[in-house]
């Protein structure tokens, strides 16, 4: 608690300064609303805001789950063979060079205005760092540890499951933390393009009617969602793999 005190004070000062700035200069609310007004308007529309929040959270979690389900096996394939790695890496890089905002409308026309294209966009935004992180982890296993496995006559599957995969855990969690934050970005991008619910949709419709405070409220909720997901991943790591979370970088054996 004592360690988080300075950051709490800093955030409080930031919001107070913002409030004072808006009041002092008489900035009109649809250009930059004061924090108190954002809070008031968001609470006034709370049931509605909550419904949109759940919609976005659903997309985020589904997209995040899809990233995990695809990235881990994909990373194992890439790490297992230089040939597969050479074949797949360029494709992965291409998917990352395409702006997902550009892809979203195409996907929505192709797949219909439902949850699926939104989950796919979320997945596309979130999965790449997870693949890269996991591959790095699988390949970062010290060669001596691999040799130890071979000296004990471990097969490739045993080597992967009992040596490489556990060793990659800190790297996987590094990727998961980035993916969790990016999943929120992906979901909002998808909602901007084609959705009838969700915080991204709420921001767009609010701005169409110059209800800026409500849009700001949605932004704040998105930020909180990102922080909570990140913390959830950190907590899961601490509980499931206590040996992993203590070290910022992967533990070395020296």
């Amino acid at each position: 608690m004592r360690r988080s005190l300075p950051s709490l004070i800093a955030v409080a000062v930031l919001f107070l300064g913002w409030e004072a700035l808006c009041r002092g200069f008489g900035i009109r609310p649809f250009i930059l609303p004061m924090p108190s007004l954002i809070l008031h308007d968001t609470l006034a529309a709370w049931p509605n805001v909550l419904a949109h929040t759940w919609a976005t959270l659903g997309t985020v979690l589904l997209g995040f789950a899809a990233s995990v389900a695809v990235s881990l096996p994909l990373a194992m394939l890439i790490a297992a063979s230089p040939t597969i790695s050479a074949a797949l890496y360029p494709i992965l890089v291409i998917t990352q060079s395409i702006p997902k905002v550009a892809l979203a409308p195409i996907l929505i026309v192709a797949l219909g205005a439902n949850e699926l294209p939104r989950v796919i966009v979320t997945f596309l935004v979130a999965f790449f760092p997870l693949v890269v992180g996991t591959v790095a982890g699988l390949l970062a296993t010290p060669p001596e540890l691999i040799e130890l496995g071979r000296a004990c006559r471990a097969g490739r599957v045993q080597e992967l499951l009992r040596i490489r995969l556990p060793f990659a855990v800190p790297f996987v969690f590094g990727g998961l933390k980035v993916a969790a934050a990016l999943a929120v970005v992906g979901a909002v991008v998808a909602e901007f393009v084609g959705a009838d619910a969700g915080l991204g949709y709420l921001i767009q419709t609010s701005m169409a009617f110059f209800r800026t405070p409500l849009a700001f409220g949605a932004v704040v909720i998105l930020a909180i969602m990102g922080i909570l997901l990140f913390q959830a991943v950190t907590l899961a790591e601490r509980i499931l793999f206590p040996w992993s979370s203590g070290a910022a970088s992967p533990p070395t054996s020296s």
Partner: protein
């Protein structure tokens, strides 16, 4: 016990070992010294069955070594412990991996850790241990496999000088109580002389055996023998072989 017969090993166009012939008797302690790149580690990996010779034979107990065998166990320069497993699980890891773990494995592991001065540390994680303690765990891990040949690749190379001397004596104590040959790769000439029955001196590019020097020092050995004429003679001879005519004494 171990016989290498005119072994050659090339990696691509690089010849790592040429015409290496060597025999190690059961229970013998052999040290291998040489400059970097003389193929000492390759030699060890050939005996371990981790790499195959390009030409010649590696024979262990009358059978050619074509894959890692249960008779050999290896200790590396880095402790290479599993960072996620506690000390006890690290020590039992090879046996569990080979599905050779039995009901008494854990008890034997605890006893072994106790003889290595690690009683009470069974449930610590590797990162909570000092470098010397980690290496003790790695040695226990190898010993638990009850190897007839212990292969050690510069096992004390990453340790500080004091820990190193302490560990050398401890290794001798452990070795004396067992029917186990040791092949010990090192950079340190005094270490080789102190430990070994015979010191194999290798010369680099391509790796060859320059000479095999018997060490005529009584056992049990200790650092007080460093001053003895036999110790000095062996060390001088090894130094001369490694440096050749040049630079055996600095200005």
């Amino acid at each position: 016990m171990i016989r290498l017969d005119r072994v050659r090993k090339s990696f691509g166009s690089v010849e790592a070992l040429r015409d290496v012939s060597l025999e190690v008797a059961a229970g013998e302690f052999v040290a291998i010294v040489g400059a970097s790149g003389c193929g000492k580690s390759t030699l060890l990996r050939l005996i371990a069955g981790l790499v195959q010779p390009t030409a010649g034979h590696v024979v262990l107990d009358g059978r050619a070594v074509t894959e890692p065998r249960a008779e050999t166990a290896m200790v590396f320069q880095a402790a290479t412990l599993l960072p996620w497993a506690d000390v006890l699980r690290n020590v039992t890891f090879p046996l569990r991996l080979m599905r050779r773990a039995g009901g008494d494995t854990e008890a034997r592991a605890r006893a072994l850790l106790a003889t290595a001065g690690l009683a009470g540390f069974e449930h610590r994680l590797p990162r909570e241990l000092s470098g010397g303690m980690q290496q003790r765990v790695a040695i226990c891990r190898a010993l638990l496999q009850d190897p007839r040949v212990l292969l050690m690749d510069e096992p004390f190379g990453a340790l500080d000088a004091l820990t190193r001397e302490e560990m050398s004596l401890e290794l001798l104590r452990i070795w004396q109580g067992r029917e186990m040959a040791v092949v010990f790769v090192t950079h340190s000439i005094p270490e080789a002389v102190l430990l070994a029955d015979r010191v194999v001196v290798m010369s680099p590019r391509p790796g060859r055996i320059a000479e095999i020097i018997p060490v005529e020092l009584p056992r049990p050995r200790g650092f007080e023998q460093e001053g003895s004429p036999a110790f000095q003679a062996a060390a001088q001879r090894i130094r001369a072989l490694i440096y050749g005519g040049r630079a055996s004494h600095a200005a």
